[in-house]
Every structure is written in structure tokens, then in C-alpha cells.
Symmetry: C2
Subunit: 467 residues, 2 copies
């Protein structure tokens, strides 16, 4: 295994760095905010801009795929080698809303470089991280003398990620044949810190539900009836209180069925990371940690399933008081799932548990939304090893492993395409995703280019996926 | 003890019934809605109308007392006997909002008689029940040949009861000397049923609080942080779940301190009432009873202290889902109190209990509003016996005893004036307080007049309050 950087790659990147940043800046000027209908033309313009750039980059096929919402961009560049692995890069070209008055120090859609940072909405999430692949593949060709990449390279850059990817699953199912791949590379996450390059090995899944409890047909007077009939607000609180046991474990029978426990090696790798709990608490804007007994904070957020209350409500919440027994109450719960858990099984378990908790006289309705499966790639997977090696060459040092506590549409690609998901991202926690003054560190962005430049040859050389 | 009705009283009422109803109808035409600022002139007009009518009735002193809100009416008619008891009648001249389109079959402020019922907003709550005292005292004089009532009679008819009596306590404290009385008669409640005359012997008190729990400084992402920091919505739910034990008793240590338990006789009197639980459940618009073990429904709502959730809220409550850990959550609780409980002691107990429940990393704020004390007059109190006797003569049958689960400003009179509170009301559950088609049963209204006519002589004859 070589961790030696390639001087040809570095020279090529150095030579093309200015044009690359100019291009990225032009793309960042397009306010492709998918959540705001008046920006729909901008999202389309962003897709068209990217499609033109990918054609210019050399992709053999570039298509803008319409959806019922915003369009995605698909590109394909065959290697010419029938035995080469096929890799699908996932990212998104839409961005979060942003306005100067939210606290930005410059216009969010007028990119500026201050110090060694490029500030703009989408700089890190996700245009910058999509875009490093364009210069990456060119550097790969220049350094290897190839005219096509060493792997069959596909890109799918969606346009609705910041709106919850409402049409993504359908798009992937419909286009499954075109998207077929041996591995999915997600470039929409980050790494541990500026000085700690890491590869993420998995994301948690997500099942969400709303539980509504109904008591009296209308709000009734708490003086006349208080103490004598079931109160749905009390019942919903008892339901939530019963959700965890005293060790912080989810108390829904069957919830942990199938959970893939952390290995000792994985726990050791997590423990190796320079984790500063005080600093993490500041990021969490919280004052204490609390969670499942017997697990560290990193284990809790990356590798343990959870049940969390996202919202609770019922009765009078305005100023002052109102002496009522409310007619209804609700709670919104989200369950983060880890490898081995089946969202359908979790849904059944939660429904049975809730029905069991609710007292006589209270009617219970539960709605589950569409779930996201967890994904996890084993540490010894050859493609994961290749990603770590390519990153190690770019950063000239050891690469560590993390996971991601959140959940993303990448899980749909894993499920529909039956391919493992790998994560290649160079964003850092200070990049300010979804916040004012979003930026990308220019040094890290170019390390992303470099990693991408090394990855395709490494993968082709060291991995022959079994069909 | 005589339960014989007085033919002179009945004759007088029969002769003056038409004029009495005409007058009441005129008063009901004034839309004295205290909760709606544009009706403020009507509330003032209602006070002036009543003051004029009380002067015409014969009261020696009649005054309209301004408050920072709507005015109250005070009237006084001394008996001339220095040893006679002094009685203060409490009621209110303001009404709940009402509009034809809420489901009324006639205009709420255009009183109509249909069958033997008078329909209008305020017919039962509370103009009708205030007004029966005017004809009552005249019938008392006519039948006894007196020129002044047998007791020193005072009236205090407030104008903000339907708005929560915000200035009542201050008014009573300021005018305590003028209001001084040996007993307070509240005519703003009702009786069990058309065929079951009852006297209410007490009301529960009320302490209300809002508990706010603060976690993260802002909503944080449940994927990134879920399972590792305390969630204030979960904490508020656990607080509510811990509020009761498995026997339905309030689990706040010290909450029951001082509670006057029901005697066997009181329990037997409650059990005598023709209580139909199915029918009661329909009134409660509920499907099951639930409450403190070892007590009947009537005991639970009349004589047992409770803790009830009036509102709970935190995080996202809109459509769909939002994967957050909310930064804050709140619960609004009301505690109904019974005789022997001190609201200040309850407040201290709840504060200590809540502080004890909240996990590390969650900040807790509690606000208590102003409390209402419980009131309870012993069954053997001579004034209570007199009320029951007067009602028994009017209804020509046995009178039973109830309590009231709600709480009212009468408790302020009890506390400030140091006088026992008695209840004299003839409204029935079907009268539709605060609802469309409010009405009063004309037969019962005249029984109210008759009870009032018997009461003052009975009180003067059978009760010499110790000063
Ligand atoms: Zn993103
Ligand atoms: Zn009233």
C-alpha cells in the first residue's frame, strides 16, 4: 500500500486551481435554493450549469433528469475496461436558504475569499464537494496518461436534498439500470477536523412517527371534570416517559432486534479520535451529556439506535392559564436506526408498544412517514480501504474512521442499487452548514480534488467486485 | 324546622311574576360581555341598569363601584336589628360572549320564552340568579310585613367574572369594611337536576403553574446529537408522568398535607345522589373514568385534590416531521385543592418536587399564578342548614348536598371577609352555561325567588353568629 503522493497529480491541480475556483465561484453565484419556490428557475439553471461543466470535463453522457420537483444531473464516463468497477458519486446541487440579514458577513450568493476560505452558501454543502470531483478526474487522467477514468464513473447530483429529497427514491427506482454501480461514493459529509482526516463508514437510519391521543370530544373544564377522566396530555407524557428505561435504553419491546453491536476494534477506533467532550457540548449547545448507559458519547450518536422527541403538544400553550382538560395531544418521535435494524420491524414494535400503553378511554392514532435505512460498510471492505488510502496520500498521514449520526438519501441508493455506500468528504465542523457564513477551507477542498484523483486508479487496481 | 311553604310568599310572587320577567328580559338585552373590549359600554350600562333596579327594589344604599376593569354594583339594606346577621350576596352581571352563528336558535341578546324556558345569554349565568333576589326580598317583606329585611342584606354583583375576575380581589380588599358580613351567599352555581334540589357546600381551590424546561440553546439536529444530550421535551414528559403514582394519587411529596378527608356521612350523602355514570361521561364528552383509587367519580371531582395538565408543548408540532431536539418545552398544570390545603404550601411542594425531577443539563423555570383557596362549609353550620331549609320549603321536598369541583372568586370573599361561603343556585346542568341556547327554567327561577324569600327570616331566627 503506497501512501506516497503523486507529483503529477499535484502539479496538475496547481496548474488548474485558479480556473477550478473561478468555475466553482460561478456555480455558487446561482442561488439554487430548493425549498423556496421562487428559486425554482435558479435550481434548474444550476442543473444546466453543472451539466455543461461535466460535458466540458469530458463525461461521455450528461443528462439533466427532471423529477416532479427539481432536476438532478446524471453523468457517465465509461472506463473502456469491461472488468473495471463501476462507481456512482452522489451529491446535490441545491442549497439551503440564505440571506445577508441572517448574520452573513458578505452576500451568501456572492462568493468571496477571506484568508484561505471561500465563503458562500453551498461552498461546503454541497457544491464544493461535488465540484472537486471534476478537477479530480482530470488530474487522474493527466497523471496516468489515460483518456478515460480507470473505473466506470457515474455521477448523480440531485436538486432536492435540502428539501428532504421528496422525489429521490422514485427517481433512483425508475433509473436503477442507468445508475447500477458496484459502490456509491457520497460526497456530502465531512471529516473530523482540519488536522484529522477521516472516512465515514456508515450513517444511521431513521423512522419517524406522529402519535396522536384523543380524549374528550372537545376541551372540557378541569374544575368540573378534573381528576375523574383520562387526560390525553397526561397520557402522551406517560407514553414518552415509558419510551426509555432507567439505563437510557429504548424500552419498546423488539426495538433492538437485529442490532449489529460495535466490535471492540470499532470502539477502539472511536476512542482514538481526539474527542473533547466540553467542546462537543458547546457544538450541541447543551450543558450535559445523557444517553444509553455503557456507551460513550460518540458511540451513542454514531452507532446506537435512539428514540428522540422532536415535538410534543396538546391543550393550551399560550400566555397565562386555561383550566381545561385538552381533547387531544400529540408527540412526534424519531428513531435513529443502526445496521441490522429493519424500519418495518421497528414500526410494528412501536405500534404494538403504544397500543399497550394507552389507557382506556383514550384513542390512539399513529402515522409513520417513509423510513430511511441505516448503512454501514465494514472496515475491511476493499473499496473502503481504497478511499482511506487515497485520502491518506492526499493528506500525507493516517486516516481515521468515523460514522455519521444523521440519515440521508444515500441509503436509498444502497437499498435500490444493492451497492455499499462509501463517504468521501473534506468539509469540517466549522464550515457552517445551513448557517450564516458557510465556507469551505481552500486547502481541504484541494485535498478533496487530490483524493478523488488517486481514488479511481486505486479502486481499479485493488478491487474486483464480485458481480 | 318548618318545611311548609308560605302562601303569602307564593301569592306575592304570582302577582309580580310578569313584571319580574319583563325586567329580567330588559337586563338580558344588554350584551354585557366583559371579555370583549367593544362591549365595555354595555357592561357599564348593565351595572347602571342593575343599580337603578336595586334602588327601586328598596335598597338603602346602591353604588356602582369602578375597578380598573368593569364596574361592580354594591347595594345595602340594613335590617334595623343590631343583632341580626349580615349577609352578602355575590353574583355577576357580565356574561360570556355569544353570537347567533355559534349555534343559537334565537338571538342571544333578544330573550325569548319557548315552552317554560327563557332563552338568552346570561339567563342562568348569572343575571337570572342575581335577579331572583330582588323579587325574593320583596316577597319576604310582603309576607312578614316588615319594611326592611330580617338580616342586614348586602349585594356585590361584579362585572368581570367571565374574564377571570382580574380586579375582584383588589376590590374586595379595598372595600372590606363595607363588605363585612357574617356569611356570603353565592348565587352563581346550580343544583343537581330539575327534580333534585341541592345545596352546594364547598368549592375546590386552584393553584396553577407553568413549568418551562430549557435544554440546548437552540433546536439542535436529532441526527447529529440524538441519544447523547438531555431533551427538554422528554424531560417535561417524565415530569408529567411522575406527577401521579400508580394509584392515581398526586405524587408530589407534601401535596396532601392538611387535606380534610371526607367523613362517612359526606360519602353517604354523595352516594345518595342519583348519579348515572354513563350520562355523566356524555357530559364530560369522555369514554372512561380514571382517577384516584378508592374514590367514586363524585368524590374525585368534588372532594379530592388533583393535578391536571392543561397544556403541554415543545419542539415541532406542525405537519410532517422535523428532526430536532427542541431547545425548550413547557407544561401548564392546575392543581385543584380541597379544604385544609394551603396554596402556598402546595406551591413550595411542587417547586421542590420539580427541581428534584429535572435531569442535569436541563434548566427549570416555574411560574405560579395567583391561587384560589378552597372553601367548605360544614354540613351542620346553622347558616347552611337555613339555606337548605329555605330551599326545602320552596321545592316542598328533601334537599341534598353537593359540592362544586371548580373554583371561583367567592373564595376571595371567604378569605378577606373571614366569612363562610354558602351557595344558593337553581340552575341545572342543561342550562348551557357558556354555550349556545343558554336558558333558565322559569319554574326553577321562581323557586329561587321563593327560596330567597324564606331565607332571610330563617337566618335571622335561627342563627346568631358569634362576632
Ligand atoms: Zn448536503
Ligand atoms: Zn357565572
Amino acid at each position: 500500500m503506497s501512501l506516497t503522493p503523486d507529483s503529477a497529480v499535484r502539479t496538475y491541480i496547481e496548474q488548474h486551481r485558479a480556473a477550478f475556483l473561478d468555475d466553482l465561484t460561478a456555480w455558487l453565484r446561482i442561488p439554487s435554493v430548493s425549498a423556496q419556490p421562487d428559486h425554482a428557475p435558479d435550481v434548474r439553471r444550476s442543473a444546466d450549469w453543472l451539466a455543461a461543466k461535466l460535458t466540458e470535463t469530458g463525461f461521455a453522457t450528461v443528462e439533466v433528469w427532471p423529477t416532479e420537483g427539481a432536476p438532478a444531473v446524471f453523468a457517465e464516463w465509461p472506463s473502456g475496461d469491461p472488468d473495471a468497477p463501476t462507481v456512482l458519486v452522489y451529491g446535490h446541487h441545491d442549497v439551503q436558504p440564505a440571506a445577508r440579514e441572517d448574520g452573513w458577513n458578505s452576500e451568501p450568493f456572492e462568493p468571496v475569499v477571506r484568508g484561505n476560505r471561500l465563503y458562500a452558501r453551498g461552498a461546503a454543502d454541497d457544491k464544493g464537494q461535488v465540484f472537486f470531483h471534476t478537477l479530480g478526474v482530470r488530474a487522474h487522467l493527466a497523471a496516468t496518461g489515460r483518456t478515460a477514468p480507470a473505473v466506470n464513473l457515474k455521477l448523480l447530483i440531485e436538486g432536492e436534498e435540502e428539501s428532504g429529497s421528496p422525489h429521490f427514491r422514485a427517481l433512483v427506482e425508475e433509473r436503477a439500470e442507468r445508475l447500477a454501480a458496484d459502490a456509491v461514493i457520497v460526497s456530502d459529509t465531512g471529516m473530523w477536523a482540519e488536522d484529522t482526516p477521516t472516512v465515514c463508514t456508515g450513517m444511521r437510519g431513521l423512522a419517524e412517527c406522529e402519535i396522536r391521543l384523543y380524549g374528550p370530544d372537545q376541551d372540557i373544564h378541569s374544575g368540573s371534570f378534573g381528576g375523574a377522566v383520562p387526560n390525553p396530555a397526561t397520557a402522551v407524557a406517560r407514553l414518552v416517559a415509558a419510551l426509555h428505561d432507567e439505563r437510557g435504553r429504548v424500552a419498546v419491546p423488539g426495538f433492538y432486534d437485529g442490532v449489529v453491536e460495535l466490535t471492540d476494534r470499532e470502539r477502539a477506533l472511536f476512542a482514538e479520535l481526539p474527542f473533547d467532550e466540553e467542546r462537543w457540548l458547546r457544538t450541541a449547545k447543551s450543558r450535559a451529556t445523557l444517553g444509553e448507559a455503557g456507551h460513550t458519547t460518540l458511540e451513542r450518536i454514531w452507532a446506537r439506535p435512539t428514540a428522540e422527541v422532536n415535538g410534543i403538544g396538546g391543550g393550551y400553550q399560550g400566555p397565562g392559564s386555561k383550566t381545561i382538560i385538552p381533547s387531544a395531544a400529540l408527540v412526534k418521535l424519531s428513531f435513529r436506526l443502526v445496521a441490522g435494524q429493519d424500519p418495518n420491524h421497528v414500526e410494528k414494535a412501536v405500534r404494538a408498544w403504544a397500543a399497550d400503553q394507552v389507557p382506556a378511554g383514550i384513542r390512539c392514532e399513529i402515522d409513520f412517514g417513509s423510513a430511511t435505512r441505516p448503512c454501514l460498510t465494514p472496515l475491511d471492505h476493499p473499496a473502503l480501504q481504497a478511499v482511506a488510502r487515497a485520502m491518506g496520500r492526499a493528506f500525507e498521514g493516517p486516516v481515521r474512521f468515523t460514522r455519521e449520526g444523521g440519515s440521508g438519501p444515500a441509503a436509498d441508493l444502497q437499498e435500490v442499487l444493492g451497492a455499499p455506500v462509501l463517504f468521501l468528504g473534506i468539509s469540517v465542523p466549522s464550515d457552517g452548514w445551513h448557517a450564516p457564513d458557510e465556507k469551505v477551507e481552500l486547502d481541504l477542498l484541494l485535498k478533496g480534488v487530490e483524493t478523488s484523483a488517486y481514488l479511481w486508479a486505486d479502486l481499479a487496481e485493488n478491487w474486483r467486485p464480485t458481480p
